[in-house]
Symmetry: C2
Subunit: 187 residues, 2 copies
C-alpha cells in the first residue's frame, strides 16, 4: 500500500495520483483505503512514517531509540547528521512524494499539524537531546534554548530543499554547522 502510493506519485505526479490509482496498484479495493485514510495526503504521511520505522529496524534499533551520535565532538556529530539529511533530501527516489506531502501541509493546517507531530517533531527532538548533552559538557552556551537553537541547523537545509534557491551539498551542511556554532559576529 505505502510502496504503491510512493511509487505512483513518483511516476505520474501528485495531482494525477488518486485513491483509486493507489488501490489498483496495491491490488486492493478503494474502499479499503477510504476505510483507513481520509485522503491521498494521509496515505503519503503514513508511508513516510513507515519508511522511518523501516530505517530504524534496518539500523537494528527501535524507532524511539534513534539518536544523533555523541562522540564528544559536537561539530563533527552535527556534520554527520546534516550530511545524512542532505543525502536523504536529494535522493531522487522519494523526491516527488516528499515534496507533495510538504506542499500539502503548507496549505492544509490539519495535515500540516499531523506531519509535524508524527514525523518532523520527533526528529527535531533528537537535536534537542544532543544540544542539551552539549550544554551539560559545556560545549554549548548555557543560556541557549535547544529547541530554538536546532532551527539554525535544520531550517537552512529545509529552506534550500523546499525553495530550491541554491545547491544542497555536504559543503553547505558543513558551513551551516560552522556558522551556527561559531556565530557570524567577529570575536
Amino acid at each position: 500500500m505505502y510502496e504503491a502510493a510512493l511509487s505512483l506519485v513518483g511516476e505520474v505526479g501528485y495531482p494525477r495520483t488518486t485513491i483509486e490509482g493507489i488501490a489498483a496498484r496495491a491490488g486492493v479495493g478503494k474502499q479499503t483505503i477510504y476505510r483507513w485514510w481520509p485522503s491521498k495526503a494521509a496515505v503519503l504521511l503514513e508511508a513516510f512514517i513507515d519508511l522511518g520505522e523501516q530505517a530504524a529496524r534496518a539500523a537494528g534499533t527501535e524507532a524511539g531509540d534513534y539518536a544523533i551520535p555523541d562522540t564528544g565532538d559536537l561539530a563533527a556529530d552535527l556534520r554527520t547528521v546534516l550530511r545524512a539529511t542532505v543525502d536523504e533530501l536529494v535522493d531522487p527516489k522519494y523526491e516527488a512524494p516528499s515534496r507533495a506531502l510538504a506542499a500539502a501541509g503548507v496549505v492544509d493546517p490539519q495535515l500540516g499539524a499531523e506531519f509535524v507531530e508524527k514525523l518532523l517533531e520527533p526528529q527535531l527532538q533528537l537535536y534537542v537531546e544532543r544540544l542539551r548533552a552539549a550544554q551539560e559538557t559545556g560545549d554549548v552556551r548555557a543560556g541557549i534554548d535547544p529547541r530554538i537553537a536546532l532551527e539554525l541547523l535544520v531550517a537552512p537545509l529545509a529552506h534550500r530543499w523546499l525553495l530550491r534557491t541554491l545547491p544542497l551539498t555536504h559543503a553547505y551542511a558543513d558551513a551551516i554547522v560552522d556558522y551556527a556554532l561559531g556565530g557570524l559576529a567577529a570575536r
Copy 2:
C-alpha cells in the same frame, strides 16, 4: 486583476480558485488572463511582485533602492527587519495566497525557479549587502560567506511559517538574531 486573484484565493481557497473566477471578479474575459499568464500560480506570483513594488513606492523608494537599515548596530538592524518579516508572514490578509504560491513552487520546479528569481532572491540580496557592510566594519567574521550566512537568519522564520511547528513571534526573531550572531558554542 492582482487584487482579484489575491482576494479570491483568500475567500474560496487555492484549489477552488480558477482563471475564470479571477477573470469574472476582475471584470475581464478569461482570454485576457490566458494571454498574459500561463496559470493561476503565475498570476499569484505577479500579484506578489506587484505588492512589493507598491510597498516600495509607498515607502518613497524605487523597488531596487530598498535596503536593510544600517544604523551601525548590526544586531538591532537585523532584529528590525526580522520582526517586520514576522509581521508580514503572520498577516492574515495574504496568508492563503502566499501559502498557495509557496506550495505550488515546492512541487513545480519552473514556478519555483521564477518565485526565487523574481521575488525571493532580490530580498535575500539585501541581507548579503548588509552583512557585507558589517564585514567591512569588522562586525562580521571575515571568512563568512554572506550569501550562506543570511540563511541562518531567514530560514528559521520561513521554516516556522511553512511548517507551522511553533509560534512565529518577535521574541523568536530576536532569539534567532542573538543565536546566529553570537553562535551556539560556548566561548
